[in-house]
Symmetry: C2
DNA sequence: ATAGACCGTAAGCGCATGCATATGATTCCC
DNA sequence: GGGAATCATATGCATGCGCTTACGGTCTAT
């Protein structure tokens, strides 16, 4: 069930992201930086459950597209601090809205109450993991 | 969200399955055969969203362990019909119970009502995917 | 009888991922 | 000051997976 559901949900999001030339991980990174606006790469990778070595390419790409900024941390020169640019924030907002719309479309056979419960529980489970 | 949730659910199930020397796909196959007791390999693969070429190893393993049976279909000699053995059914029941228990443990901070809604919605979404 | 489709099987290709190693630079602690 | 740890980076290895191709055998429709 999990496998199928995951794949199905991913298949739902994928076209939205692809249309903006963004990868899943790209979107995940933007989301994480939207939630916590300033982070080191290591912290980000840990938070999003990505391999820190593997997200470097993703970050390079996002940076090159002007969606995030990497700044040296004055307090520790080993560190880059990541933040969203205004363009990154705008794109993220747009994508999130589009994905929410698509989710709504897929959930619209549920009652409003059920839907709210489901999303709330998902959020709670996500927060706990 | 999807990625992390999937990973979390998988991380929950994995130790239970590993303890019985079963893979995720192994468990998925047992579940599918429990639900529909007699199926061709192609139908099974389609149902569980697996690649028909990739599940052959899984089926080989399950068969070797006496958990499933492959029988020629008298109506079509190209086809193997798959079914659970009693041992397969017993193992599946045991694993399903253990996984349910673990889910309950993880969901136990939710109200009973919320939990029921959540699982019901998950099921509905799965059915629609 | 023949052509095309299907079944199960084996294997190839490319990609993603988890994990590990190594590097240079930097920081922290003794 | 020196050693160990940490950061970001690059890269290797093994594995899994989606997709594809090919094969021998079988089935269906013409």
């Amino acid at each position: 069930m999990v496998t199928r559901l995951s794949r199905w949900l991913i298949a739902m999001e994928q076209p939205i992201l692809t249309a903006q030339g963004l990868s899943m991980w790209g979107y995940v990174v933007l989301t994480a930086l939207d939630e916590t606006p300033l982070r080191t790469q290591t912290a980000l990778a840990r938070t999003i459950g990505a391999d820190k070595t593997r997200i470097i390419g993703v970050l390079d790409d996002l940076q090159q597209r002007g969606l995030i900024r990497r700044e040296p941390d004055p307090a520790d020169r080993r560190v880059h601090l990541l933040r969203l640019t205004p363009a990154g924030r705008r794109l993220h907002t747009k994508l999130r809205r589009a994905i929410r719309q698509e989710e709504d479309r897929l959930l619209n056979r549920l009652s409003v109450a059920d839907r709210q419960v489901f999303l709330r529980v998902l959020q709670a489970l996500d927060a706990q993991s």
